[in-house]
């Protein structure tokens, strides 16, 4: 007891077991069902694209950090999450070099040059998807979606890119049979690798909410806004051909609402801000889907809302305990 070598540090002296690795690991676990369903519907090529995308994101992150003489942080698993999300956002018809180009844009341009994890102001995977859509439109939109392993394509088995494209192009009001509905919910429709199976995505989203990785606020307000707004446009006769309940299970909405709009770095931290983020994403998504040139609006809506996040956070600061109003 004579010569104790004691550590002196500031309080608190205990820390929770939570860590960045656990959070990112939970996101990977939550994405597993959608990834597995993606491989089931789109075949081995889907798995290949996921592996290439994840590997290139990790390598670009490590390479950039080595080159700029920073500590290499790929073990935090965040690059793997970005890589997987990017692959899930690609059509299975993508050439194998496409996720490599996308991975470079996501990790180097969108994430690392702004300071790495937590500093990116837009979602890296979505930024890369937008970059690829703008640079290689023929590989990433429209006809790119016509290939599916199972051969089931759209409403009434009509050959079209995706159900949303079908609705956008159709002059008539399409009738959705119960089997169309089941196909949409389980993912047996056209779309990117990871966006089609709504059930798997909702399951993963619930896992993240239960594990307290994300809050329900962004996904629930996002999906509800799309449902309500689409219904309003439909029943006021502005867009009578829309199919509100069917549409929330199609396109990138579930993937976007649970996994992309909730990206920590590019979404608000305040509770009220998160609701605003969800409503904003829902509003822009619906407007693009109904009035825009693209049949699909999830990516751009989230990217646009990402840019508003600092502003939202600034004006939605929570009221503090015992706050005294000025001049009261």
């Amino acid at each position: 007891m004579e010569n104790l070598k004691l550590l002196v540090s500031s309080t608190p002296h205990i820390r929770s077991n939570d860590s960045i690795e656990k959070i990112m690991g939970d996101v990977l676990i939550a994405l597993a069902p959608a990834s597995i369903m993606g491989i089931y519907f789109f075949g081995f090529k889907a798995l290949l694209l996921m592996i290439i995308s994840m590997a290139s994101c990790v390598l670009f992150e490590a390479g950039y950090q080595k080159l700029t003489k920073q500590p290499v942080t790929v073990t935090d698993l965040s690059a793997l999450v970005t890589g997987l999300l990017l692959a899930l956002n690609l059509p299975v018809s993508s050439p194998v070099w496409l996720p490599i180009v996308g991975g470079f844009f996501a990790i180097v341009v969108a994430k690392q040059v702004f300071g790495g994890l937590g500093q990116n102001f837009i979602n890296p995977a979505l930024a890369a998807r937008a970059f690829l859509v703008a640079s290689y439109p023929t590989l990433t939109t429209g006809g790119a979606f016509t290939q599916t392993a199972k051969g089931v394509i759209g409403i009434d088995g009509i050959s079209a890119a995706t159900p949303l494209a079908q609705i956008a192009e159709s002059k008539d009001i399409l009738t959705v049979s119960s089997s169309d509905f089941v196909n949409a919910i389980f993912g047996n429709i056209g779309g990117t690798i990871g966006e089609t199976c709504a059930v798997a995505l909702i399951l993963g989203g619930i896992y993240l909410i239960v594990r307290k990785v994300i809050s329900w606020k962004i996904p629930v307000s996002y999906i509800l806004t799309v449902l309500i707004l689409t219904s309003i446009f439909k029943y006021t006769g502005i867009a009578p051909n829309r199919l509100p309940l069917y549409e929330i299970f199609t396109g990138g909405l579930m993937l976007g609402a649970f996994f992309m709009a909730t990206d920590y770095a590019s979404s608000p931290v305040t509770p009220v801000g998160q609701i605003i983020m969800g409503i904003g994403c829902g509003l822009i998504t619906t407007l693009i889907r109904i009035f825009g040139g693209y049949p699909e609006g999830v990516s751009y809506s989230i990217l646009l809302m990402n840019l508003c996040v600092p502003l939202i956070d600034r004006y939605t600061k929570p009221k503090i305990f015992g706050e005294v109003k000025k001049n009261a």
Binding site: M1, L4, K5, L6, L7, V8, S9, S10, T11, P12, H13, I14, R15, S16, D18, S19, I20, K22, I23, T73, D76, G115, G116, L117, G118, Q119, Y264, A265, S267, V269, T270, P271, D313, K317, P318, K319, I320, F321, G322, E323, V324
Partner: protein, 442 residues
């Protein structure tokens, strides 16, 4: 059970199982032991010695006092001889002038002790004088002079007196044991406080992780119409004054104000017991109850010790360490102070001594903020700790103040919950000090 609580907060592992079934064990210092009585063991003006080197002092004799309103006298907890008056190291890390007394183990009492024990029709002023003369301060850790707290300015109407029995700090079990073993005396102490504020109601607020104490208290207050037991949800920092007042009364103490502004007085369990002892038994504050725990301690337990004993003597008397300690904390793991030497005296505010091994003391490295917002979900004051931290790193003091950095209660919930292990509470505390110092300079 219907429980009350505050908003947000965290759930650290409570570590109470090591000591919550250990009855309070009385430890007396050995003959020849040197006890140190620092002149500042409270908030307010330090005391001045009123004894001299070489003088013999008796148990319970007043040895230091101050004329200041905001201060509290100090009594010898043993009988013996004043060996020296010199600065000593205290648990806070500061050197403070102290009276050093060598214990003669005779426990010869000062003749003034226990003389005035009649409390029939006792006047309000006399209660306050007794509490003041007994040197009672907030024993929960803050050390606020109790007679000042119990006597707020006349314009502050007190309608609730709350005994803080939350004991939300992990590992600490002294309040729990006191409530079980001295239930009636704590209730008596609260009744004395209610005599000072006849219109007020008394509450004993306790977390539901102490069901045996709740049962004992409910039995003890069954016949007392003005006192009720409030069951609180087990959550940290439930025992923080503002959060406790909110849990019990649903009132928010305004920013920058005191509990009295919300009509409340809050005192810790051991403090209420000290009030009972001072008023009913006419004995000053000379002992306190300390939880000794942590994975490096051989015999964790709850010990009633003499104020002035050294940490080293307490640890040695209980069998010492089981393993090499790497970190020793005076107080709880959330808000207690890490100390660099065990040759410091137990003072009025020493609620616990925790010793942890290398494994338990290891601190994870700090990493980038990932903006998960968990700190916002944890802050009991509704602050945005990560935002304050980035204000601090940008050296933007105006933004720090605008974001209410000065309202931080330093509970450490943000640092506890942070998955990136950022130094949130640490930087906010340091910056609070700097901003307040700069304001005083102006």
């Amino acid at each position: 059970m219907n429980t009350q609580t505050f908003k947000r907060g965290v759930h650290p592992p409570d570590g109470k199982k090591y000591t919550n079934e250990k009855p309070i064990d009385i430890l007396m210092p050995k003959e020849g032991a040197l006890l140190a009585f620092p002149m500042s063991q409270h908030i307010g003006a330090p005391c001045s010695p009123i004894v001299q080197k070489g003088e013999r002092v008796l148990l319970g004799q007043k040895i230091a006092e101050s004329d200041a309103f905001m201060s509290s006298p100090i009594h010898s907890s043993i009988s013996g001889t004043v060996k020296d008056i010199k600065p000593v190291l205290t648990p806070s890390g500061a050197m403070v002038n102290a009276i050093i007394i060598e214990n003669d183990a005779k426990l010869e009492e000062d003749p003034s002790l226990g003389k005035d024990t009649n409390i029939e029709g006792i006047s309000r002023q006399k209660i306050l004088d007794k509490i003041k003369n007994a040197g009672i301060v907030g024993l929960g850790g803050a050390g606020f002079p109790t007679h000042v707290k119990l006597n707020p300015p006349a314009d502050k109407k007190i309608d609730s007196i709350i005994v803080n029995a939350a004991e939300c700090e992990p590992y600490l079990t002294t309040d729990h044991r006191v409530l079980l073993e001295k239930t009636e005396r704590v209730v008596k102490g609260l009744e004395i406080m209610l005599m000072l504020h006849p219109d007020a109601k008394g509450y004993i607020a306790i977390e539901v992780n102490k069901p045996d104490a709740i049962e004992a208290l409910e039995k003890a207050v069954a016949s007392k119409s003005k006192i009720s037991v409030i069951a609180l949800k087990t959550k940290y920092p439930q025992g923080s004054e503002k959060q406790l007042i909110y849990a019990v009364t649903k009132r928010e103490v305004p920013s920058g104000a005191l509990p009295a502004d919300a009509g409340c007085i809050v005192d810790n369990v051991d403090t209420v017991l000290a009030i009972e002892r001072a008023v009913v038994k006419d004995r000053p504050l000379m002992r306190r109850i300390v939880t000794l725990s942590g994975d490096a301690v051989k015999n964790p337990g709850n010990y009633q010790v003499r104020i002035g004993m050294s940490f080293r003597e307490l640890i040695e008397m209980t069998g010492g360490f089981s393993e090499e300690p790497r970190k020793i904390i005076a107080g709880g793991p959330m808000m207690g102070q890490a100390i660099f030497s065990i040759d410091v005296p137990i003072i009025k505010t020493s609620s616990a001594i925790l010793a942890f091994t290398e494994k338990a003391a290891a601190l994870p490295p700090e990493r980038n903020c990932i903006r998960c917002g968990k700190c916002i979900g944890a802050c009991p004051m509704g602050l945005m700790p990560a935002t304050l931290n980035s204000d601090i790193l940008a050296n933007d003091m105006a933004a720090f103040e605008a974001n209410h950095g000065l309202d931080c209660i330093e509970c450490g919930s943000c640092s506890y919950i942070c998955p990136a292990k950022r130094h949130l509470a640490q930087t906010i505390r340091a910056t609070k000090r700097a901003v307040m110092a700069a304001k005083r300079k102006k």
